[in-house]
């Protein structure tokens, strides 16, 4: 509250003393609410009770953000409310909370950019540090403290910060201090044929160790990276080493043994008009980094300092989102579930047929994607130490081959065909130990068509099919959407799991209204339980039924 008054005071003072009283106010309001309803038929087997709405059947997450800019100063805050409980599947630290969650004051002048309060930040790929917000996932890992950015010349950028990380409405126990330096070598050397940038980061967590003198108070990570581009080729590499630290599971230390961690990511690509390719390799060994050593592996992704997303294609259809990958950076020494990290690749190809060619005349665009992720090939010993291969032949966690063909048949009709073949480890998708429960092999087909009816009206239809012998067997799905104009839209969708033990329809229907700064959407139906993934990070949502509403206004 003190900070808040200071910010207001400052903003007011600026307003009075300024020559031109022209500040600008911007921000937004977002409210996502749900009203959960009993649904006794929503169950996979006859012995289950179905979905029984919790006591807090009506829930809402609301975010009110205000920013005020005046010349070189910007101040802002975000008020959040999760009343009476946060939406189903969010971290319980948010339940029944209501208040100012973040605030900041920023000053920008020429080469200097200073922020006090809460701020978001990313170093390099985010593999070493990333403070970010995703409201759908219930993640807000902003840092609270002070940050300075300084660009002494056009080709050097420096960032330094110190602060604690946000954890619900509280702050992490650990204090983070971090530096990042980026140099654009080609700009400095005036190279014209080669584009070369290098960078390095240092991130340290200080945390009191109480009476246990065997564990470190400071754990630092160091990274170096290089990005280049030359003509139609480009690429990059980043390597990170993390100091030895203890590992923890479910809020307790596993032992006092210390393990260091490493991360390596490299990518290469080639692209020209009409054709694009890229490939990425990543290896993570004991590479989770939290602002509290005991927060390791918490299922709500709170207090994560760095960002290790799953490097697989992010899918958007109902049935392509059932079996998804989640990155596995952790070291676990439990005899029932031993693992040291992950290694794998992802590659992409995008191609447009030239307009003159036969396939080009119907606007054919092709996208193909491949990914393979495996556990590190490690041998564990009785004293909880381990040996690990750089790549080796670890358990396969996930393999995905998918292609997408888009066509524009005429000015009014276009189509998308998607084929996907997945092999997923049951532990990754359904939970439990990895590499020992067997695989789920699934093939998915999706056909989508959109027909424009003129005057902004259009109709879109999607047919989907998922075939698998494992888990809940086969699914089919359909979506119909009708757009009255750019403002009004309605849809109905169903995903039908007909091959499994319980035959369940996951039906949904809803509509949305969008105009200028306002968007309102309503939805009624069943939510399939499982992982909801955004940006390669997932949260678990239990099966449920009910109404949901989303209101978003920006100003």
């Amino acid at each position: 509250m003190k900070y808040l008054l200071a910010i207001c005071g400052l903003a007011a003072a600026l307003n009075v003393s300024g020559q031109t009283p022209q500040g600008s106010l911007f921000g937004g309001f977002e409210s996502n609410s749900q009203w959960l309803l009993d649904d006794f038929d929503l169950k996979v087997s006859a012995s289950e009770p179905g979905f029984i709405a919790p006591e807090d059947a009506f829930r809402a997450n609301s975010y009110f953000q205000l920013n005020y800019n005046y010349g070189e100063f910007t101040a802002g805050l975000q008020h959040e409310s999760y009343m009476p409980s946060a939406l189903l599947g969010y971290s319980p630290t948010f339940d029944n909370q209501n208040g100012i969650a973040t605030y900041y004051l920023n000053f920008k002048h020429d080469q200097l950019d200073l922020t006090a309060g809460y701020f978001y930040e990313q170093f390099g790929n985010g593999l070493i540090l990333r403070g970010w917000e995703d409201r759908q996932l219930g993640i807000n890992s902003a840092f609270q403290g002070v940050r300075a950015k300084f660009n002494p010349t056009e080709y050097i950028a420096f960032t330094g910060l110190i602060g604690q990380q946000r954890n619900g409405f509280e702050l992490s126990e650990g204090v983070i201090n971090a530096f990042d330096l980026n140099v654009d070598l080609s700009q400095k050397m005036q190279w014209s044929l080669l584009d070369l940038r290098i960078g390095g980061s240092y991130v340290n967590r200080f945390q009191d160790r109480g009476t246990n003198s065997l564990i470190p108070t400071n754990v630092a990570a160091y990274s170096g990276r290089l990005d280049w581009g030359s003509g139609q080729f480009y690429g990059g590499i980043e390597a990170i080493k993390k100091d030895p630290d203890v590992i923890a599971n479910e809020g307790t230390l596993v032992s006092n043994r210390l393990y260091d961690g490493t991360a390596l990511q490299a990518n290469i690509g080639y692209s020209k008009k009409g054709l694009g390719t890229s490939a990425t390799f990543r290896r993570l060994e004991n590479f989770s980094f939290y602002s509290d050593r005991l927060a390791e592996g918490n299922q709500f992704n709170q207090e994560l300092i760095n960002y290790t997303p799953a490097l697989t294609k992010q899918q958007d259809y109902l049935l392509t989102n059932i079996y998804v990958y989640n990155a596995q950076p952790r070291l676990i020494t439990d005899p029932l579930d031993q693992r040291a990290g992950e290694v794998g690749v992802q590659s992409d190809l995008f191609f447009s047929f030239p307009k003159e060619s036969t396939l080009g005349k119907i606007g054919t665009k092709v996208a193909a994607n491949f990914s393979y992720w495996a556990g590190l090939d490690a041998t564990f010993y009785e004293d909880q130490s381990y040996d690990v291969a750089f790549i080796g032949e670890g358990n396969r966690y996930f393999r995905d081959i998918n292609t997408e063909i888009k066509n524009r048949w005429s000015k009014t009709f276009n189509s998308v065909l998607t084929y996907q073949n997945i092999i997923a480890d049951k532990g990754v998708v359904l939970g439990g130990p990895l590499g020992s429960q067997g695989d789920i092999k699934a093939t998915i087909l999706v056909a989508e068509g959109t027909y424009k009816l003129g005057k902004g009206r259009s109709v879109r239809g999607v047919l989907q099919y998922l075939s698998t012998e494992q888990d809940r067997k086969n699914w089919s799905g359909a979506v119909v959407e009708y757009n009255f104009n750019a403002k009004w839209s309605i849809y109905a969708a169903d995903a039908y799991n007909y091959g499994g033990e319980g035959k369940i329809h996951y039906y949904n229907t809803g509509g949305s209204f969008t105009k200028g700064r306002t968007r309102f959407a309503m939805n009624y139906g069943r939510q399939r339980g499982g992982l909801i993934c955004v940006g390669g990070v997932c949260r678990f949502v239990p099966e449920n039924n009910g109404f949901s509403m989303n209101l978003n206004v920006t100003f």
Binding site: L4, A11, A12, Q22, G23, S24, F26, G27, E30, L66, N69, L77, H79, I100, Y120, Q122, N125, G126, L127, R130, W132, E133, R135, A157, R197, G269, Y270, S271, K273, G274, L275, G276, T277, Y307, A310, L311, K313, Q314, Q315, D316, D348, S352, K365, A367, T450, K452, G456, R457, S458, N485, A486, S489, S512, T514, G516, R519, G535, N552, T554, F555
Partner: protein, 160 residues
């Protein structure tokens, strides 16, 4: 809640005009150099800014649809389009091959840690805004097939 109301009043009473000015946030070019929204739009009178992501199907549809008529739009109104990708570290490596594979002629900028998205208050993508001389004159979120025609009507009304 009380704090909030007081604060709201305070801020409004400053006489801050609602945000019609394009916020000046820094972002990156595909080559990795830093630029800003004002720098990117400085030389152009009429600019469409589209916030999109490689994983957002409606975004791709919108940009594909505009791509078909983009040349005509440019010839008739001198409008230009800046497509700002909000892809984060997970998918940002797919931006370059995708835009080339698609053959889009837009200026592409990267908003990897979503500073632009936050500054524009975009809860979802796509968000399409039309900027005339640094002032936001039209905004629309979401994409329904045919929405590009409405956008073009706005462009025509603001061209000249």
């Amino acid at each position: 809640m009380k704090q909030l109301i007081i604060l709201g009043f305070l801020l409004f009473s400053f006489g801050g005009n609602a945000q019609d000015l394009l916020p000046d946030v820094s972002l990156k070019t595909l080559e990795g150099t830093t630029t800003s929204l004002s720098e990117a739009t400085a030389s152009k009178s009429l600019v469409v800014i589209s916030l999109w992501a490689t994983w957002c199907v409606p975004c791709i549809k919108e940009l594909d649809a505009i791509s078909e008529v983009y040349q005509d739009w440019q010839d008739e109104t001198e409008v230009s389009l800046i497509a700002i990708s909000i892809d984060d570290a997970r998918t940002v490596k797919r931006v370059k091959p995708m835009i080339n594979g698609k053959g889009w002629d837009y200026t592409i900028l990267l908003d990897t840690n979503n500073d632009v998205k936050r500054a524009l208050g975009a809860a979802t993508v796509p968000l399409t805004i039309l900027v005339k001389d640094g002032v936001i004159v039209y905004r629309h979120s979401g994409y329904a097939p045919g929405a590009e025609d409405e956008l073009y009507e706005q462009i025509l009304a603001n061209a000249k």
